[in-house]
C-alpha cells in the first residue's frame, strides 16, 4: 500500500513537508515517494495529504495506478459541464 508520484509532478515542494511518514523526497526529474515508508496517511489523516495539496492532476497515483486527482478534478468543474462553462466564460 503506497502512493506514487509520476511524470506530471512539477517539483513544487508542497507535498513534502505534509507527509506524516516523511516518505516524500526530492529527486530528479521529479519528487518520489518511498514505498516502504508510505502509509497513505492511514491513522494520521482522513485525506491523503500529498494528493490533497498537489496542484497537478494525475501526478499522484495509487497502487492500482489510478490518479487520485483525475483530469478536470482540480478545476472544480465536472467534465460534462466543461463546454457550457467555456461558452459562459467566453461571453464575458
Amino acid at each position: 500500500m503506497a502512493l506514487q508520484i509520476v511524470d506530471g509532478c512539477v517539483n513544487c515542494w508542497a507535498c513534502e513537508p505534509l507527509c506524516p511518514s516523511q516518505a516524500i523526497y526530492a529527486a530528479l526529474p521529479h519528487f518520489l515517494i518511498d514505498a516502504k515508508k508510505c502509509t497513505e496517511c492511514d491513522g494520521d489523516y482522513a485525506d491523503k495529504q500529498c494528493a490533497s495539496i498537489c496542484p497537478i492532476e494525475e501526478a499522484i497515483v495509487d497502487s492500482q495506478g489510478e490518479a487520485l486527482n483525475p483530469p478536470g478534478s482540480l478545476t472544480g468543474i465536472p467534465p460534462e459541464r466543461w463546454e457550457q462553462v467555456r461558452a459562459e466564460i467566453q461571453a464575458r
Binding site: C12, D47, I53, I56, Q90, R92
Partner: protein
C-alpha cells in the same frame, strides 16, 4: 558575464532604466497625502512609490515554490524563461543560494534597495524557506529592505514570526470580499489538512485575508493590496474591495489587468477568459481612486525579476554565473550608501524643478473650459525625456493632458515590430498590433518614426509627432495639448475608439 565590483567603478547615481517618465504622477504625487512616517518607509521602494521606481531597483528571489491555493489565472508549471508575469521563474533557489544571489546583485546594482519574496508559489506556504532567507539577509545585508507578497491564507498564524524579520511592507492579493465571486476565481484551497473546494474554500480564504490584513495594520506594517481585474467576474466588485481594504487600513491599492493567454496553460487562458481593455482598466482605477490611493506603475513582474521595474536583468545573475563570485559586502555597503545619497540628492533637485514646472504648466494659457482630456503615448528609453524611436519602443507610457494638468496614466506593452530577425514575424501585422495597443491615444510622441508606421498611425486616428525629441515628457505633452487647443481640436470628440485588450 562580467560582474563589476563596486569601488572599481564610478559611484555616480546610475541612470534610471526601465520606465522613466520624469514624474509618473506629475504634480499629483500619489504619496503626497500620506503621513510622513509612511512616506519615509516607501520613498525608496520602487513597487510602492512611483517616484522611486525611476531610480531604485528591486529583486525577487524564487525560494517559495509551494502554494496552498489554486487561482484560475495561475499555472503551477511555473518554469518558463520566456514569459514575464507573476508566478513564473526560471530557477528555483535554496535559501543559501538566494542569499548569495541577493548580495551579489546588491554589490553590482547598488540602486537595488528591496528584496521581495513573491513565489513562484505563496511565500507563506513555504515558511521555513522564506523565513530562513529573511533571517540570513537581516544579518548579512541590513541595508536591504525586505518584503513579501502573499495570498493571505496562512498570514494570521505567521504574522508574528513575519514581524520579527525587519519587514516594513507586505503585499496581499485580494481579488474579492464576496465568496460567490471567490468561487469563480479559486477552485480550491488547502486548509487544515484538507482540500476545500469552491465557495466554502473562498469563504475561508477571504476571512483569513481580512483577518491577516487587520493584524498587519495593527502591528504597523504597511500593506499594499493587489487585485487582478477579471472582466465579468470581479470587475464590478473591485470598487467594493477597494473600500473594504481601505477601511481596514491598507495604504495602497494596485488593480492589475488579468493576463490570460491559452499558451500559458492557465484555466482562464485555456477557457478563453478575456483580460480587460485599457479603457476598462483605467475606468476602474479611476473609480477606485476616489476611495483609495491607487498604484498605476506596476509591471506585474516575474517571481525572479532583477533590476528596475521596466527591465529584467535576471539572466545576468543565474546561479552558475554567481557561484564563483566573492562579495565583500562591507565594502559594497559603503558604496551603496554613496549611490543612495546621490539618488536622494537627484530626487531633491527634481522635486525642486517639478514645483517650478508645475507653475510654468499652470501658467500656460490653455483654455480652461470645454476642453476635453487627451491621451498621448510616449516612446522613451529613460530619463523622463522623449528619446526613443517609435519602432524601438517595447512599451509606451500613456499620459493624459487636460485643462489643468498632465498626469501619468499607465504603461502599455507592445511587441517590437522592427527587430529585423526571424523572431520578427510578419512585420505588418506586428505593427498593427502596436497600433492596436495605442487605441484611445490621439498622439504618439517619439524621437523618430518611419514612413510606413506614420501613415498607418494617421489612418488609425493617432497623430505621430517627432518634433519634441529630447524634451521633457510633461512639458512636451503640455505643449502639444496647447497646440491642439489652438487648432480647435479639443472641442470635438475624438474618432470612435475600438476595443483594445490590455
Amino acid at each position: 558575464m562580467e560582474l563589476t565590483v563596486l569601488g572599481q567603478s564610478q559611484t555616480t547615481a546610475p541612470e534610471a532604466g526601465g520606465c522613466a517618465s520624469s514624474g509618473c504622477g506629475s504634480n499629483d504625487d500619489q504619496l503626497n497625502h500620506l503621513p510622513e512616517h509612511i512616506r519615509a518607509k516607501v520613498h525608496n521602494h520602487p513597487c510602492y512609490s512611483e517616484e522611486a521606481h525611476h531610480h531604485y531597483a528591486r529583486m525577487h528571489v524564487a525560494v517559495a515554490p509551494a502554494c496552498n491555493i489554486q487561482c484560475h489565472y495561475c499555472n503551477r508549471k511555473y518554469d518558463c524563461s520566456n514569459e514575464s508575469r507573476p508566478g513564473v521563474v526560471s530557477e528555483l533557489l535554496t535559501p543559501d543560494q538566494a542569499v548569495k544571489k541577493v548580495m551579489t546583485v546588491a554589490a553590482n546594482i547598488p540602486q537595488m534597495t528591496v528584496l521581495g519574496i513573491a513565489g513562484p508559489g505563496d511565500p507563506l506556504a513555504n515558511p521555513e524557506r522564506t523565513f530562513d532567507t529573511f533571517r540570513q539577509l537581516t544579518e548579512k545585508a541590513p541595508d536591504i529592505k525586505l518584503c513579501v507578497s502573499t495570498n493571505g491564507l496562512a498570514l494570521p498564524e505567521l504574522v508574528d514570526e513575519l514581524c520579527q524579520h525587519n519587514i516594513d511592507h507586505v503585499t496581499m492579493t485580494i481579488n474579492c470580499v464576496d465568496p460567490d465571486i471567490g468561487a469563480q476565481i479559486y477552485p480550491w484551497i488547502f486548509w487544515k489538512n484538507r482540500r476545500v473546494y469552491g465557495r466554502k474554500g473562498a469563504e475561508i480564504l477571504i476571512k483569513q485575508q481580512q483577518k491577516g490584513l487587520q493584524m498587519l495594520v495593527d502591528r504597523g506594517i504597511l500593506v499594499k493590496v493587489n487585485s487582478v481585474m477579471i472582466p465579468g467576474v470581479n470587475d464590478k466588485h473591485l470598487e467594493e474591495v477597494s473600500k473594504a481594504v481601505k477601511a481596514k487600513g491598507a495604504f495602497l491599492h494596485n488593480v492589475m489587468p488579468l493576463i490570460a493567454e491559452a499558451e500559458h496553460g492557465t484555466f482562464y487562458g485555456v477557457m478563453g477568459q478575456r483580460g480587460p481593455t485599457h479603457d476598462e482598466l483605467q475606468e476602474l482605477q479611476d473609480a477606485c481612486s476616489g476611495d483609495m490611493n491607487m498604484m498605476r506603475h506596476c509591471r506585474q513582474c516575474r517571481a525572479d525579476a532583477v533590476g528596475m521595474l521596466g527591465e529584467d536583468r535576471g539572466d545576468e545573475f543565474t546561479m552558475d554565473k554567481i557561484e564563483a563570485v566573492d562579495v565583500d559586502y562591507a565594502a559594497a555597503m559603503v558604496k551603496r550608501a554613496e549611490v543612495h545619497a546621490a539618488i536622494e540628492a537627484t530626487l531633491a533637485a527634481k522635486q525642486q524643478k517639478k514645483n517650478e514646472t508645475f507653475i510654468s504648466l499652470s501658467s500656460l494659457s490653455i483654455p480652461k473650459k470645454e476642453s476635453r482630456p487627451v491621451l498621448m503615448a510616449i516612446a522613451t528609453s529613460g530619463g523622463g525625456i522623449i528619446n526613443q524611436h517609435f519602432g524601438h519602443a517595447r512599451e509606451f507610457l500613456i499620459y493624459e493632458a487636460n485643462a489643468h494638468d498632465v498626469r501619468f496614466i499607465s504603461h502599455r506593452k507592445t511587441d517590437l515590430y522592427c527587430s529585423g530577425d526571424d523572431t520578427c514575424g510578419d512585420g505588418e501585422s506586428v505593427l498593427q498590433k502596436t497600433i492596436n495597443a495605442l487605441k484611445g491615444c490621439e498622439v504618439v510622441l517619439c524621437s523618430k518614426i518611419g514612413y510606413e508606421p506614420w501613415g498607418m498611425l494617421e489612418e488609425a486616428g493617432i497623430m505621430p509627432n517627432g518634433e519634441h525629441a529630447m524634451e521633457a515628457i510633461e512639458d512636451a505633452v503640455a505643449a502639444v495639448y496647447k497646440e491642439m487647443g489652438e487648432k480647435g481640436l479639443l472641442d470635438k470628440k475624438p474618432e470612435t475608439k475600438q476595443r483594445a485588450t490590455a
